[in-house]
């Protein structure tokens, strides 16, 4: 196997609420030899760069929605969506709630379009 097959390239959404800086994307390369859930992948990114915020609590059932996230433009459950080594993905916050920081959203604040 070549090296690139052991790496997942992630373009991750960054947002620092206090600084009024515009959201931007940061690239991460995560070493990984197995298919991995988006949720576990984000936890790895938080280990590589602890300033990257993400939720980590899981229900192990795909039922609670703690892991809701947007991958390649689609809202998904991060705990049951897999990504393979060698792939490149774009990760953004789940689209229906207000962002707190990076990909962490506030489940108490639905965005207006989602309120209906």
């Amino acid at each position: 196997m070549t090296e690139s097959n052991q790496i997942i390239s992630v373009k991750a959404y960054r947002f620092e609420p206090a600084n009024q800086v515009k959201p931007y994307f940061q690239n991460f390369e995560v070493k990984c030899s197995e298919p991995i859930s988006i949720m576990a992948l984000l936890a790895k990114i938080h280990e590589i760069d602890p300033s990257f915020a993400c939720r980590t609590s899981t229900c192990f059932k795909g039922k609670c929605g703690s892991c809701l996230i947007r991958v390649n433009g689609q809202d998904v459950l991060g705990c049951t969506t897999l990504v393979n080594p060698g792939e490149s993905i774009v990760v953004e916050p789940y689209s229906k709630f207000k962002v707190i920081r990076d990909v962490v959203v506030d489940f108490r604040e639905p965005l207006s379009a989602a309120k209906e």
Binding site: P35, I36, S37, D49, G65
Partner: protein, 564 residues
Amino acid sequence: MKITENLQTDVLVIGGGAAGLRAALAAAESGSQVIVTNKGPLTKSGITLTAAGGMQAPFHPADSEEQYFKDTLQCGYGLGDQNLAKVLAADACSRILDLERYGTRFVRDTEGHFSLGQFPGQSQPRNLFVKGGGLGLVSSLAKACQAHANILIIDDFFVSGLITGQSSQENVAVGAIGINLRNGQLTLIQAKAVVMATGGCQWLWEINDCPTDATGEGLVYAYRAGADLIDMEMVLFYPSVIVWPPSVKGAFAHYEFLAADILDGNIYDHVGNSVLPKPLPIRNEAMQLMAKAINDGRGSEHGGLFWYVGNSPNGLKRVRETLNIAQYNYIKSHGIDPATDKIEVAPGAHYLLGGIHINEQCQTTVNGLFATPECAGNFDGANRLAGSGITATQVFGAKAGFAAHQWAVANQYIDANPASIEQETWRIAGKISTTNNYQGTAISELRNRLRTAVQSYAGVNRNGEGLARLTKIAKEIREELSQLQVPEVKVYNQQLIDLLQLESMCEVAMLVAECALMRQESRGHHYRTDFPRQDDQNWLKHTLAVSMGIEPRFATKPINMLSE
């Protein structure tokens, strides 16, 4: 760091799992104003969500409170507090009827009666099933709390410590300090009574089946405030927690399904030899065999053995039917077919039997401070029956909430000891670097080191040497940690939470190690390879960690026996 927000309430509940929410309802329904805090979003964090939803109560016509009580004591190897076990058995049915009132639904048979399963150790069918499992339970309780005018829920709020005051020379809990993750406010919540409901600490073990929230800081906060902790060595392990692949690590496969009358599978080593005899041994014996097989080098490269039902004599159809539940569909979504694939598993930490010492009113040894499952103990002993965990959240949740309400009615607000506030705000301020010269991945490295050590030395098989080593390692890590700082970030400072949590985890590890070292016998889930026998002569008693300012003191305590 300064307090930037002040709140006041009659009863403060810390933790919004099944226990904390039930406590909040009990206090609010009695007339108290209640604030519930939860470190993650409500219904999206906590151990209860992961629960299968089995719940015990003696509804069966042939069953009784007495029988439930006796089964509990027997299953707990005689170590359960009898006064508490009595309350658990006596109130179980009523609390389940309460749950129906709150909107929780149970599985019923065709005639409309509760479906009752019989699990090992239950002398009658006693297990009800919550529809939607733990999530169904928490969701209905959360709705009931949200609908109650007296309850204010503040989630995404990390409590960092308790605040104490003085009343007639005695220490009293008068509230808590915490960080509102949404807006970064350092918040002081003043309360007449405080209920600790923060769940367990099983995430300290590298292998466990709990969410990342289960880091045990509530135990440490209570302990720092002067509350005794009981039987901290008593952690219950589950035989078959998934260790590989990484994305599904922490989910579990049912040990019980391996029984001949269900799927008739087994646990296999890396060359395909079965590890367990049939009929299946009880869980703790199975785990000793599994831990030994792993230690003897019979495991996989990831430290696991193989859970396998693919050769079930009962046929693939039956296997598929049995495994057609959310938990296995989750495993399936990770590319593993549990009906035909070998799943890599090992014993993992599952439940904290010990915890903050409570009496029948859930009062701790600190005035104004109450505690309710899983952070409280010890109503089970050295093992517990299936389905007692969730029942305990309801029985003791209601007790704690009501007792906290009564305390709040009988007492005025007591001013916080200024030193207690200052100590806490200084502690947090000391963790924040204004120069941003923080240490990158150091926190996660230390955390991994701690979790590996807890797994190696305080797992299924323990011995004196290893436990002493664990204390030493936890102290070293705490020391290194005290040198670390995180950047000053106002909103959602996850690094700060990581750091504060790890600090508490070090303390929990030391407490577990010291208590396990003290108990020089084997009983239930506490297995000492250097003291392999149960010693009723000397050890039919609790271990106790008593907070004494800086250094802890360890002691033992007789078991509460019901007067005949």
